[in-house]
């Protein structure tokens, strides 16, 4: 079992230089050896589109079109890297900030915004994309992920050797959630039953206003050892390194090797959500330091210095981002309010007498006092 790495895994330095693939790094470099210039351009495009989308969503919140927005800016490499390491049949249990993973899994950005507008309870069908609903209760999705993974085991979709069948589950959480009991319970349960889960922590340094130093006294990745699973720390702003590390962990899960704890070190550039002001609790020096480690800048630097992309490419991506922003803006403003009765649709999988009673009550009220009910 590989021990938690002393240094976070990094394959692309902040100035865009692909790191020497010898020694400890060889294993991870090999896992992304198929990522050439073309694939790196795709990953850059993913990150740029998600960042543009994020900026538009922030503006829409400021215009009063969204009730809230949780910005993912700064965490693009962690999310795109992880999502790109997954297979089509894999499942993701996200927090509420996984916009980059949603993008790669094919969830329409407008569906994500419908949740933040309060126009939907979920926004998308998790069975279509393998991307489960955003979970706002901190850490609650981890037991779900472990439970789902144990279901995968019982379906026999682990360790068959069929690459289109073996399934891994990506369980997303943050540094703050690591203090939740259920997160640790999910880890323990998965470890004991060797469930095919990749525990993917994006340690962005801050749980709203609490620094990560108040969540754990030792690097989170080292906690893995106590649970009896491999733990690895990765430069979360290096899309290549994250992809390699998550690919290794997901391969292990699919082959029946059990769970892995991945800690991606990254930074939340904006505030926790549009409802707080990070300048009130986070030292500005931290913002300045992380600005030098931007996930997009390093890929751009690498592509430019190696001739992998030119101005025309970056201009095209920018234009495409603006188109996406315009579509999102238009789509959000045209979003209709949900049917009130739809709130009962997914409360339970089947019929439930209390839900039926409440539904009938609301139906009557709407019918008799439509103005009041609105």
């Amino acid at each position: 079992m590989p021990a938690a790495t002393a240094e976070p895994v990094q394959l692309l330095s902040p100035d865009g230089v692909r790191q020497d693939a010898s020694g400890d790094r060889a294993r991870h470099a090999e896992l992304v050896s198929g990522v050439g210039a073309e694939q790196l351009r795709e990953r850059y495009r993913d990150m740029a589109m998600v960042r543009r989308f994020d900026a538009e969503a922030t503006a829409l919140q400021r215009q009063g079109e969204l009730a809230l927005w949780a910005s993912g800016t700064g965490q693009e490499a962690a999310q795109i890297g992880a999502a790109r390491a997954l297979a089509a049949q894999d499942h993701v249990f996200p927090t509420y900030r996984e916009h980059g993973i949603a993008w790669v899994r094919g969830v329409d950005p407008l569906q994500v915004l419908s949740l933040y507008r309060g126009a939907s309870h979920g926004g998308w069908d998790p069975t279509a994309s393998g991307f489960h609903p955003y979970t706002l209760v901190i850490g609650a999705q981890l037991p779900h992920a472990t439970g789902y993974a144990m279901g995968v085991q019982r379906d026999g979709d682990v360790g068959t050797g069929d690459p289109a069948r073996d399934t891994a589950v990506l369980a997303c959480f943050g540094d703050g959630a690591s203090s939740q009991g259920e997160v640790n319970e999910a880890l323990n349960w998965a470890a004991v039953f060797q469930a095919p889960v990749v525990f993917f922590c994006q340690n962005n340094g801050w749980a709203i206003s609490s620094p990560a130093s108040r969540q754990f006294a030792a690097p989170l990745a080292r906690r893995a050892e106590g649970f009896g699973v491999p733990g690895v720390q990765v430069d979360g702003n290096d899309v290549l390194a994250v992809e390699a590390v998550v690919r290794e962990a997901a391969d292990r899960a699919r082959s029946g090797g059990g769970p892995t704890l991945v800690e991606a070190l990254t930074f939340r550039v904006a505030a926790h959500t549009t409802s707080d002001d990070s300048s009130r609790y986070r030292p500005r020096e931290e913002d300045e330091l992380w600005a030098t480690r931007d996930p997009l800048t390093r890929v751009e630097a690498h592509l430019r210095s190696t001739g992998g992309a030119d101005d025309a490419f970056f201009d095209a991506v920018r234009a495409e981002g603006d188109e996406l922003a315009a579509r999102v803006r238009r789509g959000v403003r045209e979003m209709s309010d949900p049917e009130p009765l739809s709130m009962f649709d997914h409360a339970y999988a089947g019929d439930h007498p209390l839900v039926a009673q409440e539904r009938a009550w609301l139906e009557t009220w709407i019918a008799t006092e439509p103005e009041e009910a609105r």
Binding site: E56, A59, Q61, R62, Q63, G64, E65, L66, A67, L68, R117, G118, I208, S209, A271, H272, T273, T274, S275, D276, D277, S279, R280, Y281, A325, R329, R333, D337, W361, W365, E372
Partner: protein
């Protein structure tokens, strides 16, 4: 072509109002959907609002420095593109739930009266929680005219009919938003920049030329929003010119007769806290004058010691230590009144609050577990606390949880005062200036270092007996520092 209004949205979860800090655009400016047009300050932060329309700015409906409710029209834009919502106010998104109030349902029926009732919404800061008083018992009040009038002079709060504020009237120079942003970044006051553009518009080149010429070196920088209680102040100008004669002498129009300062931020918070404290806790104050010559000599000795070389050693440090020692002897002074539970909460720790005049006003950060600290640790903690507070960087954690406080008014060169309690605490010690006074010492009048101490206490839970004993003990430690040895 149609005119559309952008209404102030709830930009946080459950905010009810915001103050317009700075307009980034002026009447006549061409704006594009998504351009930041105005900066507003909420209870949570200062945020830029982008316009949801493209077109020409017709009017700015709220003057800078004005606080308005969510839903108030901010700006009118004449749009160029055909719009589905022509001539209708822009509809803000559904308001996020605040977790307070809401209409309860009893027996499956909702009465009309209940629906008219609406919990009075109060801004909830994410990560800061709600105030204890509202957390357990959401106040449900009927919204009435009286309720809104109670909040202050209606005229000052929100103009019933927002007036158009064209740039000519406000004296705002004409410039596009990017040029305004540039000027702001460079610290240039646009009103001072000569305009070369058509119709008197200040261009980017004008701003750059102005900076290059360094014309502005001696002028004060433009006011920074929210920098202090004076920011956003308006002045009442007397009518200009020779129409005004006072006793036959023309008044100088440049000298305003009154200044009106909007109450907000720390000022408003302080006012609220002080009113809450003064009218909840019956205050009583006790005084003592004490000879602290021995303490001052001890301070001199400490300052000369190696291990105290890097730290500021002040009389306040000894007072802080004395408060910790005296509080340990009289636990009832370091306590709070729990109205809800009808209990007195005695603290077995000292989180020592220190009143500090910070850039944005009075704040009371506290030293956590000060009772466990050595004199040296306390000196460091005190130095850090004051420095952090003065640089305006005290965290919410610093500013909460104090159990007993000290206010040092001696730094202002005065002797004594009757402080108001930091809400939730039972006592606050007030320290005057230390000065040489004639004092009877060993039967003779000698010049001695003397200071006045006073303590205000909450008479609900602290009687004169306890308050006086506590104060006398603080005084005893300062008069005879060796007392501390005997107590420890």
């Amino acid at each position: 072509m149609s005119t559309q209004q952008f209404l102030l949205p709830d930009v946080g979860e459950g905010l009810t109002e915001a103050e317009v800090v700075t307009w980034r655009v002026a009447v006549g400016d061409v704006v594009t959907d998504g351009d930041p047009v105005v900066e507003v300050e909420t209870a949570k932060s200062v945020v830029e609002l982008p316009t949801p329309f493209s077109g020409t700015v017709v009017s700015l409906l709220v003057p800078e420095g004005t606080t308005v409710d969510v839903g108030t029209p901010l700006i009118a834009v004449q749009t160029t593109a055909p719009s589905v919502e022509a001539d209708h106010p822009h509809r803000p998104a559904p308001v996020a739930p605040t977790g307070q109030g809401g209409s309860g349902r009893e027996g499956g029926a909702v009465s009309a009266v209940e629906h008219e009732q609406e919990a009075e919404r109060e801004a909830v800061l994410v990560g800061y929680g709600v105030r204890p008083a509202t957390a357990g018992h959401p106040a449900r009040r009927r919204r009435t005219v009286a309720a809104s009038a109670r909040n202050g002079a209606p005229a000052a709060a929100a103009p019933a009919a927002p007036s158009r504020v064209p740039s000519q009237e406000t004296g705002r120079p004409l410039a596009s938003p990017p040029v305004r942003a540039l000027a702001r970044d460079l610290g240039v006051d646009l009103t001072r920049v000569p305009a070369s553009g058509d119709g008197g518009v200040v261009t980017r080149d004008d701003v750059r030329a102005f900076v290059d010429a360094r014309v502005d070196l001696s002028s004060p920088p433009p006011p920074r929003h929210g920098a202090g209680p004076g920011a956003g102040a308006s002045v009442t100008e007397p009518p200009a010119g020779d129409d005004v004669l006072v006793g036959g002498v023309p008044m100088v129009p440049a000298q305003p007769r009154e200044t009106r300062i909007p109450v907000r931020g720390v000022r408003r918070a302080t006012a609220r806290q002080m009113v809450a404290s003064a009218f909840t806790a019956p205050h009583a104050t006790a005084f003592v004058t004490v000879d602290v010559t021995r303490s001052m000599k001890m301070l001199e000795r400490i300052r000369g010691e190696r291990e105290f070389r890097d730290v500021h050693v002040s009389p306040l440090l000894l007072v802080a230590r004395a408060v910790c020692l005296a509080a340990a002897r009289h636990p009832g002074i370091n306590a709070s009144w729990d109205e809800l539970a009808q209990e007195i909460v005695v603290k077995h720790y000292v989180n020592l609050g220190i009143a500090v005049a910070a850039p944005r006003g009075l704040i009371v950060p506290s030293i956590k577990d000060a009772h466990t600290m050595s004199l040296k640790d306390l000196a460091h903690a005190l130095g850090d606390l004051v420095q952090t507070a003065r640089s305006g960087r005290s965290s919410p954690a610093d500013l909460s949880g104090s159990s007993i406080s000290i206010t040092n008014i001696g730094v202002f060169g005065v002797d004594s005062g009757t402080p108001i309690l930091n809400p939730g605490e039972a006592a606050i010690l007030c320290v005057g200036q230390v000065k040489k006074k004639p004092w009877v010492h060993k039967g003779k009048v000698r010049p001695r270092d003397v200071v006045d101490l006073s303590v205000s206490f909450d008479h609900r839970l602290v009687d004169g007996d306890l308050g006086s004993k506590f104060l006398a003990d603080v005084a005893r430690v300062l008069e005879r520092p060796d007392t501390a040895l005997r107590w420890a």
